[in-house]
Symmetry: C2
Subunit: 246 residues, 2 copies
């Protein structure tokens, strides 16, 4: 399992991904699921991946042209003329990788599918955020649905729905995301820290602040503990159900 | 889909179930999913059902001996000598109904499965709460897992995990359950009010307060609206992420 969120804010985009991969509960590993590409001044892209790890790594390697010698690499995605074109390049690569693994070779009970979130900005256009399906099609976040989730999306969704506000700054959005991730971690062993994050500031056209929240991160520990208490207080602030009304 | 919760408290048991059934999003209905049996002074049982509606209705009808004339009915479940035996009777009936529909007749792409929550008390024993699987086996709630959910369990679980306390009174537990149900309703169209509830008081050995929360219930409306605000305040009470730490 996996949990990744991409969120649009008035001041930019924020991304967070967990790092747990598992093939059964008895086979877990830690892998980065966030990939950044940038051509400073021209574009900045962030890709979050969920699903079959071989598929997502193959997609990223193909996009980065890792089959070529270092000096020959000129990733096509870095010359995408728009976010829409960048999403098409990623989606097409994903579709090809899934198709090449799913047909003509060994069959497997495991699925080769993967679902990706791609967000960023290309010079001349606004920041955009896409959810890319294994079939090679994609949808875009909008005012009505300003954040996109992949993986184990359910446990962490109610708090995002209730507390999202486009005016959040990165510190506040980070707090919201960590609460959402913490709710998920507490319920699904397939999602676990460390968490990778990236703040993209609108019109910066380069990677912004990024980092990793370790399981023993003092801020994460504080949020995880204080949130339980804050929730109980929030619940207590509402009136009890009038049990005498029958 | 469905959402039902049974919860153990120091003062008794509390149950809540939604009423939406659906076969696709274009075919929804309202059905009660909570059934009560009582023999005042000897036992009180509450059954919550999720899964195939034909299966759960058949189970309840068989348990209530509805195939017999009214005057001949003597539901075996009412003479169960213990909660464990009551759970066995329900589980065996469920297993038989599922098996009879699943084999030897028309096959269907729909599943005949159903999962039940059975809680209550039989004179001489403590209140007990069980989750009964379509295979006819069951598990019991315990101190470590004091509540049981069936149906769409994920959206409403984080608040239950965080705010559950065995010392809650029925009014407080009702508030907690309504918040959990509201989070679920906001995310899954297959769960919807009205909600049925029942408070069973330990050692009362008869049905307690029960009722139905309609979609326009003033208390539910208040909780649904105030909870969003209370959550935002709770989140604001936590410190922002220190974005300058890089």
């Amino acid at each position: 399992m996996t949990y990744c969120v991409g969120m649009t804010l008035n001041r930019g985009l924020i991304f967070m991904s967990d790092t747990r991969t598992n093939a059964g509960v008895d086979n877990i590993s830690t892998f980065r699921k966030m990939t950044l590409w940038e051509a400073p001044g021209r574009l900045s892209l962030t890709l979050l991946s969920s699903g079959n790890l071989a598929t997502t790594q193959a997609v990223i390697s193909q996009l980065a042209e890792r089959s070529k010698a270092h000096e020959d690499r000129d990733p096509g995605i870095l010359s995408a003329p728009s976010m829409f074109q960048a999403a098409r390049i990623v989606a097409e690569t994903l579709r090809e990788v899934v198709a090449s693994h799913a047909t003509g070779g060994m069959t497997s009970s495991a699925s080769f599918k993967a679902t990706l979130i791609l967000g960023g900005q290309v010079a001349g256009g606004p920041p955009r955020l896409f959810l890319i399906y294994p079939e090679g099609n994609f949808i875009e976040a909008s005012e009505d649905t300003p954040f996109l989730q992949v993986g184990e999306t359910k446990y962490g969704k109610p708090i995002l729905v209730r507390a999202y506000d486009p005016d959040l700054d990165f510190g506040q959005a980070m707090r919201l995301l960590l609460v959402s991730f913490d709710s998920t971690v507490k319920a699904n062993l397939g999602v676990a820290p460390p968490f990778d994050y990236h703040f993209y500031e609108t019109d910066s056209l380069c990677s912004g602040t990024r980092g990793r929240i370790q399981p023993d991160d003092p801020y994460y520990t504080l949020i995880s503990e204080a949130w339980g208490q804050a929730l109980k207080s929030a619940l207590s602030s509402l009136p009890d159900f009038p049990t005498d009304r029958g």
